[in-house]
């Protein structure tokens, strides 16, 4: 529209806008161009829809991960907790419970793990990496124990029907992703909780001096992560039409990558929620595009590692200039 031409007329404003755009946006654009040119399926409507649906679960983990990292934390248990929630959800359904009860159970498990992580980090004062490494092992072990390492099948058709349905014409997974983004955005930018996320990472002492019950909010950040894992378990279970004890292994890695390349800082209490959305797409596009090109999944992991380094390098260059 007119806005672009206005920008073009003012080169200094254009330059400022370019400088303000994080590296991940350029990388995303570049990938879309490259994959679009090399694979004729990549830009097809079906593939783009597929891309969005695949990215939904990752986004639902990456959003709380962003808040956690902003608070100078980390949660490497989220993948395992998501897996455990999915297994619990499937088991509940197999035993004949309704979807609402099963989802409540999954949410409760996620919340409990988030609560445990938050307590260990804020009250016990453990390094987040160590604390969540512990709960990671517990969640993963429990998921294997309750399933005997087998997939939980026979959960009925209605979960899959639900997954394939739509809300106002929007496919359910994408509606979940949009809803999660709206919720996270509201929490981070429009509530006390969100302000305190910035403060816990940026200057925790300031909150203490302001008489805020910091631990409560600190625990809340991790509990939010656990609940989001519980909710994402619904999508995961539905997509596979079963509960599998190793289903979401490593998704926490992708989530950390998405937040990091989206511009979330690991030590200053700085973050940009929409950057995480772009980061999630970058990871999704990378995997999707490489899949279409027939690149084996081991090499996809290598490319995602490379993606982090390139994205952060670009941001580093821009910060210096």
């Amino acid at each position: 529209m007119n806005e672009t031409s206005a920008l073009a007329l003012r080169p200094h404003r254009l330059r400022a806008a370019l400088a303000a755009t994080p590296g991940v946006a350029y990388i995303l654009l570049l990938m879309v161009v490259v994959f679009g040119a090399t694979s004729k399926h990549f830009l097809s409507g079906a593939n783009l829809l597929n891309l969005g649906m695949q990215s939904a679960i990752l986004l639902m983990i990456a959003l709380p991960m962003t808040l956690i990292i902003m608070s100078e934390g980390l949660d490497i248990s989220l993948g395992a907790v998501l897996t455990l929630c999915s297994v619990v959800l499937a088991l509940m359904l197999v035993r004949g419970n309704g979807l609402a009860v099963a989802l409540a159970a999954a949410l409760a498990v996620g919340f409990a793990f988030g609560l445990a992580n938050g307590l260990l980090v804020s009250v016990v004062n453990m390094p987040p990496f160590v604390a969540t490494l512990g709960t990671f092992g517990m969640a993963q072990g429990l998921a294997l124990a309750v399933t005997d390492g087998q997939s939980v099948v026979g959960i009925g058709d209605f979960v899959q029907q639900f997954y394939e349905g739509g809300v106002f014409g929007i496919p359910v997974p994408i509606a979940f992703a949009l809803g999660s983004y709206a919720l996270s955005h509201w929490l981070l930018y429009h509530t006390r909780f969100g302000s305190y996320v910035f403060a816990i990472g940026g200057n925790r002492e300031a909150l203490v001096l302001a008489g805020v019950r910091v631990n409560l909010y600190h625990i809340g950040i991790y509990a939010f992560g656990g609940c989001m894992a519980g909710l994402a378990a619904l999508l995961l279970t539905a997509r596979m039409n079963s509960g599998h004890p190793t289903a979401a292994i490593g998704i926490e890695f992708d989530a950390i990558v998405a937040a990091a390349i989206g511009g979330t800082s690991f030590e200053r209490g700085d973050g940009w929620l929409f950057g995480t959305v772009l980061g999630t797409f970058a990871v999704g596009v990378m995997r999707n595009g490489l899949n279409l090109l027939g690149v084996p999944s081991s090499l996809q992991v290598v490319s995602i590692g490379l993606l982090v380094i390139v994205a952060l390098f670009v941001d580093g260059l821009k910060q210096r200039s």
Binding site: S195, F198, N203, E205, L207, A210, R268, G269, D270
Partner: protein, 501 residues
């Protein structure tokens, strides 16, 4: 209703606070009255900060009581202090870098909107803008705080305290970072608050401010109240005299250097990225030269610039006649040792042995063929242990089990074995108990006796006066003056450091 001027809002009675080895506050009584600016004075470590911390609940007094409008209260946390109407403008900023100005001002007191949980951003920005206008600050309240300069951050900090509509406002050196214009603006606000009956406690190192603003002055020294006076009854000189004269341990008196040797260190118009500028310092072998000044005057920054730990932006450093540039490793190769204030983090490896620490900086020299020879290592470390009389049962004892004084000796021994001849000590007696201090100074005296040169940073005025051959005094990132042995007195240093000649 006009506020009752005479009525004390807060009264501290007989407050004492002990830390291991230090009596931070000793039976201090302090009355804060409505509509009065109460100046709190004292040199570094006199107990001002401790008193403030008791006031806002960061410290609990070991004895004594606090009265609020005549009623006994306990201030067990910052939240308690806030409930009693105490607000503090901190010197170390209590701001969150990636929140905007309005969010920072109202941190912990966000405005609620009608939607549950929702913050009323509009209302907060409106209020914040009013506060900034009052302070004469023309900045958009949506600006994130990390984008502001130090002076503007200080103003936000002030706005934050003002927004609490406190009845007691504590200001810890609020003008330290402000320009003259901003300072005037702040004074206007302070006078207005005074009229409105707010009680103000004001810590300052600028004597001019004390007389311009103060209604009452309390002077602390060694954690004790040494004077409580009205500005009209006193003079700047009397205040300086009250502040100095701390208890002195004379057991480390030394013979001063009569004939300094060659020029070991020379800085010419030195400036660094950390805000020092125009620094000209000379140190000769055989001399202990003091670098005095108030906390934040730029002393450590000078040491870091000389050593190459901060980037030098102007001027040059010459060591033993040749220019020195390059990082810390270049400096140590040229025989310069920096013994930092934070010994446990930067000076010694606590979980390694005395021997390991002593050899750490000279491995390449002792073992040129890169092959560690235990016999040589043992011999060299035992020799250093004897030389410096380090009290350790064995060279293999872990450094963490040694006393602070002996740890300091290990650090010095490390640089001695590396062949260093210019030693820069940053607060060498910080965290060392009284008995061991004399030992440290004997050690420093021995160093110069053997032909080394020493530059010593200290916040303890008596240390500078009793140990140093002469001293430079810093203020605001520059050298404010030089005092020869004959001129070196505590009052003389303080006058230069506080800008009152």
């Amino acid at each position: 209703m006009p506020p009752d001027r005479a009525a004390p809002v807060l009264e501290l009675r007989g407050i004492s606070k002990l830390f291991p080895g230090v009596r931070a506050l000793d039976d201090v009584s302090f009355t804060i009255r409505a509509g009065e600016v109460h100046m709190l004075l004292g040199e570094n470590g006199a107990g001002k900060s401790s008193l403030i911390k008791v006031l806002y609940g960061a410290y609990q007094a070991d004895s004594g009581e606090i009265l609020h409008h005549g009623r006994k209260v306990a201030i067990a946390s910052p939240a308690d202090a806030r409930r009693l109407g105490v607000a503090v403008i901190f010197q170390e900023f209590s701001l969150v870098p990636f929140l905007d100005i309005a969010q920072n001002i109202f941190l912990g007191r966000e405005f609620a909107s009608r939607v549950p949980g929702h913050i009323d951003h509009r209302g907060m920005h409106l209020e914040a803008a009013k506060l900034l206008e009052l302070l004469g600050m023309d900045v958009d309240t949506h600006t994130k705080v990390h984008r502001l300069g130090v002076a503007q951050q200080q103003l936000v900090e002030i706005a934050k305290a003002l927004s609490q509509q406190a009845s007691v406002l504590v200001m810890d050196e609020p003008t330290a970072a402000l320009s003259e214009h901003e300072t005037e603006r702040l004074f206007k606000v302070i006078r207005r608050l005074k009229q409105e009956g707010v009680a103000i406690v004001y810590i300052s190192h600028r004597l001019a401010e004390v007389f311009e603003l103060g209604d009452r002055i309390t002077v602390l020294r060694d954690g004790r109240k040494v004077g409580s006076l009205a500005p009209s009854e006193t003079t700047p000189d009397e205040l300086v005299q009250l502040m100095v004269g701390r208890a002195v341990d004379t057991s480390y008196a030394r013979e001063f250097c009569a004939l300094p040797g060659e020029l070991a260190l020379e800085t010419k118009d030195l400036g660094s990225e950390r805000g020092i500028s125009g620094v000209n310092i000379e140190v000769r072998t055989g001399e202990i030269v003091g670098l005095a000044g108030l906390v934040g005057a730029g002393r450590t920054e000078v040491a870091r610039a000389i050593f190459g730990a901060d980037r030098v932006t102007h001027g040059e450093v010459r060591v033993f006649g040749r220019p020195l540039d390059g990082g810390p490793d270049a400096s140590t190769r040229r025989g310069v040792a920096l013994i930092p204030e934070n010994r446990k983090q930067e000076g010694v490896a606590l979980i390694r042995s005395v021997q390991d620490n002593l050899l750490l900086a000279s491995l390449a020299r002792l073992f040129p063929r890169r092959w560690f020879d235990p016999a040589v290592g043992r011999r060299v470390s035992v020799q250093k242990i004897d030389e410096l009389r380090i009290a350790t049962p064995s060279p293999l004892r872990l450094v963490r089990y040694l006393s602070g004084g002996n740890q300091q000796k290990v650090v010095v021994g490390k640089w001695l074995s590396a062949g260093c001849r210019l030693f820069i000590f940053d607060e060498p007696t910080r965290g060392i108990d009284v008995g061991a201090k004399a030992e440290i100074f004997n050690l420093i005296g021995e160093l110069v006796g053997r032909g080394a040169a020493v530059l010593m940073i200290s916040s303890e005025l008596p240390e500078i006066v009793h140990v140093c051959d002469r001293a430079y005094v810093m203020r605001g990132g520059r050298v404010a003056g030089h005092l020869t042995r004959a001129e070196l007195t505590e009052a003389g240093i303080l006058r230069l450091a506080m800008h009152h000649e």
